[in-house]
Amino acid sequence: MDYLSVFKNAFIPIMKDRIYYLLDVYTAGQATDEEISELFQAVRDADEQNGFKEYMLELWERQKHSEDFSYVNWPEMYSEIMQNAKNQSQNKDAEYAGFGKIRSLFSTRTAAACIVIIALSAITFLLNKHSQAPALVDHPLLKIDIPSPVVNRAVLTLADGRKIQLDSTVNGTLAVQGSVQVVKQSSGQISYAGNAEGDVSYNTLSVPKGSKPMSVILADGSKVWINVGSTLTFPTAFVGHERMLQMTGEAYFEVRHNAEMPFVVIANEVNVRDLGTHFNVNSYPDEGATKVTLLEGSVKVSKGALNSRVISPGEQARVGADLTVFKDVEIDEVMAWREGKFRFGKDVDIENIMTEIGRWYNVRIVYKGTVKQHFWGAVSREVSLWQVLKVLETAGGVKFNVEGNTVTVMPAGP
């Protein structure tokens, strides 16, 4: 045994860059014989090769889903998996019953080698369990899969123009405006408390695309959930005859009723006047009409010279050039964003779905060809972009390609 070479390998571990290089040429099929033997020498010499896991994780993260693997016989693979699973459990049952198979094929030496290898993989496994997957987010190629938003990127603009980034602030009092206190709670929600003095002052909460939605408790105890790509402008405390708020995008309101001081939401020139109630307003400019959906109580919806309408729970007012009321809308679908889901009913086409996906992951959507397929169903918003797209592809009729921040939507064969 050459002790010098043992020392060399033990004390001068191969550099990560070198492993990356070797794996690059090897996986591309361009490695020379020397490089191949260097790679495997390195794999052989270390229990856990520095850089190997990271290299593979990058492949995993940036994996595109446009490659064609239809040559693999997937149904056959699946039935073999199930068959093997059945065999394995039967073997296990048989062993429990005392009819363990005699493995005559193997010598005792082989069995001993097995034990060593199993022990080694157990150790590797234990080591793996403790090592966290390294963060590789700044790698340019990794942006192809986009995780579900994990932080709040909401910005609060105070009456004096100061802007507060809500994700970077600690919990507790964020600002004192007059006698009104703004507090960030441990849940991430912000709340207003205090009485108005003098003039009404307004704050604006903006929740950008690619952020998590945000909720706020207003000075009157009413609660508002603000969806991504939306803003809400509201008084820090309420005075006068009305509680007037302005919004863009989408928000859901649970209003603390006060007959003396009606609650009025203005969205895209549409006026929603609450008569004590829970309602959702969707006024994204890319969705056409402003939609007001009532869950509880009643609201009066109006816009300019159009006749106003009072709607009841389960009804939705759609206000564009005119004002139409739809009965028995799917509340689950309208409120899916609050439940952390994408949910679409049967009359929804791919454009509607992609608009919401684009907003949530903050990606641009382009179309190549026409997707005739309609989709219905639900997907959790907590999964990555890639997973959502994969679910749709698996449903059929559509294919996606992701480059940077752009998702291309294409029709797929039957």
Binding site: V43, K64, Y71, T110, H374, W376, E382, S384, Q387, V388
Partner: protein, 197 residues
Amino acid sequence: MNLLKSFFYDEKELLTRIAAGEESAYRTFFDLYKERFYAVVLKMTRSDLVAEEIVQEVFLNIWMKREKLVLIENPSSYFFTAVYRRVYSYYRNVAREEKIKDVLSKSNMCENSTEELIFARESQLLITTAIQKLPSQQQVIFKLSKQEGLSREEIAEQLELSPNTVRNHLSCAVKTIRALLRNCDFLFVLIIWLIKK
């Protein structure tokens, strides 16, 4: 033609249903992940047959240990680790196999330990025995591929078959040998020798 397709997916819910033994949920999971697993393994191993083997193993393992799925906090990283471990152990085995080749080629010298020599000879014996049990056409194709080192295209030309048929025969041969040598993880090293390009 049905223009309406449905999709339902909540990863936690899906995993919970698999953990409860619901096979249709597992099938959905298989369809969602198979290409991702395969793409990564194919890239790393440069062999479609090895990649199929490994992907199949990973899926089998996930199903056999399905009760654990409810405990997973980060599914993507859990499944990555499952794939990673198989690929890494493949690399380890290839590395070991290179060493065995080395041992065999120098076996007339006495530098190498007896243990390594016995290990190497046992491996060879097991493989040879297994190959002899293959149906004749598989055996021919297999030998051309491994012993003569011919490419699939060359074999196809020689035997007047389509390259795809050759691929299927090789794939069957590997599966047969694998089934014969099933009972120990350690034999994976032999399988690699069988399917490596």
